[in-house]
């Protein structure tokens, strides 16, 4: 007897295209999440950037069941550590209360509203904040399970069947055999499995009709589904919008597939609700007791007084945290901007530089640059670490190309890789080694996963693995040196080949005009002048980490989460091309014959700098190179010492951490990032910015039309804002917007990490990247402060012409301060300004 309940036949109201539009809009609830191999920073609240910052944070907190701000106890610790000026916090509190008169309004005898608020900020206990269950609800867990199976990148011993049908259809095909599905959905689910459309868009349209969703409510329903598993939804966005087509070949999946599965569960009555609870934070009793406000006093107080008391007593942790954040931002701005203003008219040095070095804008370059400048007459610049080259590199031995560019761009040049000049033998050895290693790894995987061979494999390889593990634990640097001796380094054995397009070997990767264009951009965007020094180094960067899923997060964000050495080598080759130089000379950029460009890579974990292609550097420049290398080594040592203090260990231990398999915090990465400064080095050279500032070189005098500033603000600054927001939100709620404790993470499918053995793909940074071992926040969650040295009118016209800038500055995602180069006067971009206004859009500091 069939016990299944009858399913009413429903007629969809919406067309497939209407549903497609709604699905696409709902998908914006989450940003794309890049896989581990190319992890780059994204703002987890990117889908809310149309809203003013405060509204966005509240809306997202509701949508993702997340915290709105850092716990007040954490803020108090940062206050005690000096990250916030207490006077500034008081000023913020006064503003919050509506100004001086309101703030000093008395609630009781000698007790003002400000007294109450400061007590809440500084002393009184706060509510428990957001509490949520440790495990995913069964409905989300069911979908997450099949996401992990479907999106696996060849790591599973037994791949999910029918992946060619697409995610939605392949789960439909298997769900009938899944006992968890039966438990969740019962007979209704079984019947729906037989009847619902196999096309996900049609299934969603039918679902809207079946659930009785009204016009205008559909997107909200879908966005709610997306937000239930933001990690897997973000992975789907990356797969469809940013991955090369071959990545998803044979296993198509769009956001509609994911949402159609949610719709199936919803129609089956299997959706759970109420994941998180926000505990009320009413501390009326403690507040009254602190100020001896007895019930008599409060009852006799005027109505407004009682209301004000209750308002302050009921402020939740999110609102209190927001005041701390404002105070942290203002404290930082008050400390930095006056120093920049004082340096605004500092002249550039007329001395001939021993060498010029172009670093990435990354905050980790700032302290290294300062250390290097202390070693001699070195002139340094900041430029986006992909050096303006929108390239994808086809590495020898890799089946997929590596995108070495910001994710804001699509690759324009497919560059092949080949043996470096004079290093053919090493290249051959590296290639053979790589093949052998891959072959061995494949054999080991097969043996490990085979039912007949698993135990034998463990018996045979276990002792060896144990010995290796012991050696890696006791003497990681020794092991690393031993391995290096056996295998020549890959970095120098291969080189990008400019003259060969990876897919069309008869064509060069770059035309002559393109080469000239990229060479010109370096000078135009950084304000670098000719004649140049004898040596000009383009310095990319990357990190070092072993056994670390987040290793790519330490690499260059502008290079798509990869080290930037290849980009540096390509632009170096372009700038050493005599034909390119001849063309540049015609355009007023006379690079002397005595100038040699070299490529380098700054290891931000060890502070060592590797110089590429040294064999090609002419004899005439060897003494210059030797002197530079000595200075780089000394600067590296000084910077390592400085960083080791922040890491709470010795400089030598920092080197060990870079090769130790058990290291959970090889470096602090971009933690504490706070500012993006656009101007010549003379603006910042005398200031210790403590490795907290992105520095982009810029000369307003050579940018009369504002095109360079437009590029800097609409691209490198946008990337910096993503990084800033990722660190900010990962700190505020590490469980929802970050990835939790590294110790309990597991890598899934080669694409991301889970906490424990299942659930959603984690979306942000791990706890160890943001918090110290004692659990206190190392990163100060504050929004990016952008400072530009340029005439007000020029900056205004650039902002007014670019929607993205109006949105970021106008909605308070980034704070903009403009310093006039002539007067040193600084103005701040006011929130929510009208573009048509001019003088009124500024607010004096």
């Amino acid at each position: 007897m069939n016990m299944m309940a009858p399913i009413a036949i429903v007629e969809p109201v919406l067309t497939r295209t209407e549903v497609a539009g709604l699905v696409s809009l709902a998908a914006r609830t989450v940003p794309p999440i890049w896989p581990l191999e190319s992890a780059i920073a994204v703002n987890p609240l990117a889908g809310f950037e149309e809203l003013p910052f405060e509204q966005a944070v509240s809306a997202a907190a509701q949508r993702f069941s997340a915290r709105e701000n850092l716990p007040v106890d954490q803020w108090r610790t940062l206050l005690r550590a000096g990250s916030i000026d207490q006077k500034v916090l008081r000023d913020v509190a006064i503003q919050e209360l509506g100004g001086l008169n309101s703030a000093f309004e008395l609630i009781g005898p000698d007790v003002s509203r400000l007294d109450l608020l400061m007590a809440r900020l500084l002393d009184l206990p706060v509510g428990a904040g957001v509490t949520r269950p440790a495990m995913l609800s069964p409905d989300a867990d069911f979908i997450a399970k099949w996401c992990a199976a479907f999106f696996d990148q060849g790591r599973a011993a037994s791949p999910m069947p029918n992946r060619g049908l697409g995610f939605y259809r392949s789960v439909l095909a298997i769900a009938g055999h899944d006992s968890e599905f039966r438990r969740l959905t019962g007979d209704v689910g079984q019947k729906l499995l037989l009847s619902i459309p196999r096309d996900p868009l049609e299934a969603i349209a039918e679902g809207f009709a079946a659930l009785g969703i009204c016009h205008g409510e559909e997107e909200d329903l879908l966005a709610g589904y997306v937000a239930r598993l933001p990690g897997w939804a973000g992975h789907i966005r990356w797969r469809n919008e940013h991955a090369d087509p071959e990545y998803a070949a044979g296993a198509p999946a769009g956001m509609a597939d994911l949402l159609a599965l949610w719709m199936l569960l919803d129609r089956s009555g299997a959706i759970s609700t109420g994941e998180a609870r926000t505990a009320p934070s009413d501390v009326s009793a403690q507040l009254a007791e602190r100020f001896n406000l007895t019930s008599d006093i409060l009852e006799n107080a005027h109505e407004a007084g009682r209301r004000h008391f209750n308002e302050i007593a009921n402020l939740d942790e999110g609102k209190l945290g927001r005041m701390f954040m404002l105070a942290a931002e203002t404290s930082y701005r008050n400390a930095v901007v006056p120093q920049l203003r004082a340096a605004a008219d500092a002249p550039g040095s007329d001395e001939v530089a021993e060498a010029q070095l172009v670093f990435c804008i990354d905050v980790r370059s700032e302290s290294f640059r300062r250390a290097l400048e202390a070693e001699g007459r070195y002139e340094t610049f900041g430029y986006a670490g992909f050096f303006g080259l929108p390239i994808a590199l086809h590495k020898v031995g890799k089946s997929r190309r590596t995108r070495l560019l910001p994710v804001l761009l699509s690759p324009q040049h497919d560059v092949d890789e080949g043996p470096a000049v004079g290093r053919e033998r090493e290249a051959e050895m590296v290639e053979q080694n790589a093949e052998r290693t891959q072959h061995t790894a494949n054999l080991f995987d097969i043996a490990k996963q085979g039912s007949a061979t698993a135990f034998t494999t463990a018996e045979v390889t276990g002792p060896l693995a144990g010995l290796l593990m012991a050696a890696n634990t006791i003497a990681p640097k020794f092991v690393e040196r031993a391995v290096s001796r056996l295998r020549p380094p890959r970095e120098d054995a291969f080189a990008p080949s400019l003259e060969k397009h990876a897919d069309h070997g008869v064509h060069p990767a770059f035309t002559f005009e393109e080469k000239v264009g990229y060479a010109t951009a370096l000078f135009k965007l950084t304000g670098m002048k000719t004649p140049t020094a004898r040596l000009v180094a383009l310095v990319g960067h990357g990190g070092s980490a072993v056994n670390n899923p987040y290793a790519a997060a330490l690499d260059c964000g502008a290079c798509g989460g990869h080290a930037g050495g290849s980009n540096a080598r390509i632009l170096t080759a372009i700038l050493n091309d005599l034909d390119v130089r001849a063309e540049l000379a015609k355009r007023g950029m006379n690079i002397p014959d005595t100038t040699r460009f070299i490529a380098a890579e700054h290891n931000t974990t060890t502070d060592e700098v590797f110089i590429f292609d040294q064999a090609t550097i002419p004899e005439s420049h060897r003494p210059d190179l030797s002197a530079l290398m000595t200075s780089l080594a000394r600067a590296g040592s000084a910077n390592r010492e400085r960083r080791s203090v922040l890491l709470g260990r010795s400089a030598s231990d920092v080197l060990t951490g870079a090769v130790h398999w058990g290291e959970v915090r090889p470096e602090w990465g971009l933690a504490r990032n706070a500012a993006f400064i656009v101007g010549p080095r003379s603006l910042t050279r005398s200031i210790d910015l403590e490795g907290r500032a992105f520095l982009h070189s810029y000369d307003w005098q050579s940018d009369t039309d504002g095109s360079a500033l437009t590029t800097i603000l609409t691209a490198p600054m946008v990337v910096a804002q993503w990084i800033n927001c990722q660190y900010l939100f990962s700190t505020i709620d590490n469980d929802r917007y970050g990835s939790g404790n590294k110790i309990t993470q597991n890598v899934v499918g080669g694409i991301g990490v889970l906490q424990g053995n299942g659930g959603d793909l984690k979306v942000g940074l791990p706890m160890q990247s943001l918090f110290g071992d004692d659990g206190t926040a190392f990163h100060v969650p504050q929004r990016l402060l952008t400072v530009v040295l340029a005439p007000f009118d020029l900056v205004e016209s650039v902002v007014a012409s670019n929607d993205i800038l109006e949105r970021l500055f106008g909605n308070g995602w980034v704070s903009l301060v403009v310093i006039d180069p002539e007067t040193g006067k600084a103005l701040r971009w006011r929130r929510n300004c009208e573009l048509s206004e001019s003088a009124a859009t500024h607010q004096s500091l």
Partner: protein, 118 residues
């Protein structure tokens, strides 16, 4: 489909849709076009112009996602109207404009919408 003959030249009447949107929203439009079964379209990047909120800058060097883009798609009337219906929902949330017009093409098979409903 109505056809026009000019001597030996035979033209086929179809509908054209032009859509101007923020570049960051180009994926939304592509999803709609695909859902309607339209297999090909033209994208004109770095479109500049004057709108309700002032002048929109065109070219930016390092960011494909900023500025405006214009889509041009041609198909039979049913598919184009289908796209327009989807766009109407998009425009409730995202800025953009669209123009529909009658066009004539030489090779109608280039613009045949595929059957996507399964």
């Amino acid at each position: 489909m109505n056809n026009t003959r000019y001597g030996e030249l035979s033209l086929h009447r179809l509908k054209k849709i032009e859509i101007v949107m923020n570049a960051e929203d180009h994926g939304l439009v592509e999803d709609l076009l695909k859902a309607a079964g339209i297999g090909g379209w033209t994208i004109i990047r770095d479109v500049a112009g004057m709108g309700h909120s002032g002048f929109h800058q065109g070219k930016t060097i390092f960011n494909d996602q900023s500025g405006l883009v214009m889509f041009v798609g041609v198909a039979d009337e049913k598919a184009i109207i289908d796209v327009a219906r989807g766009l109407a929902r998009l425009f409730e949330k995202r800025p953009g404009v669209t123009f529909l017009s009658d066009v004539e093409v030489l090779r109608s098979d280039y613009f045949a919408a595929t059957q996507t409903a399964q």
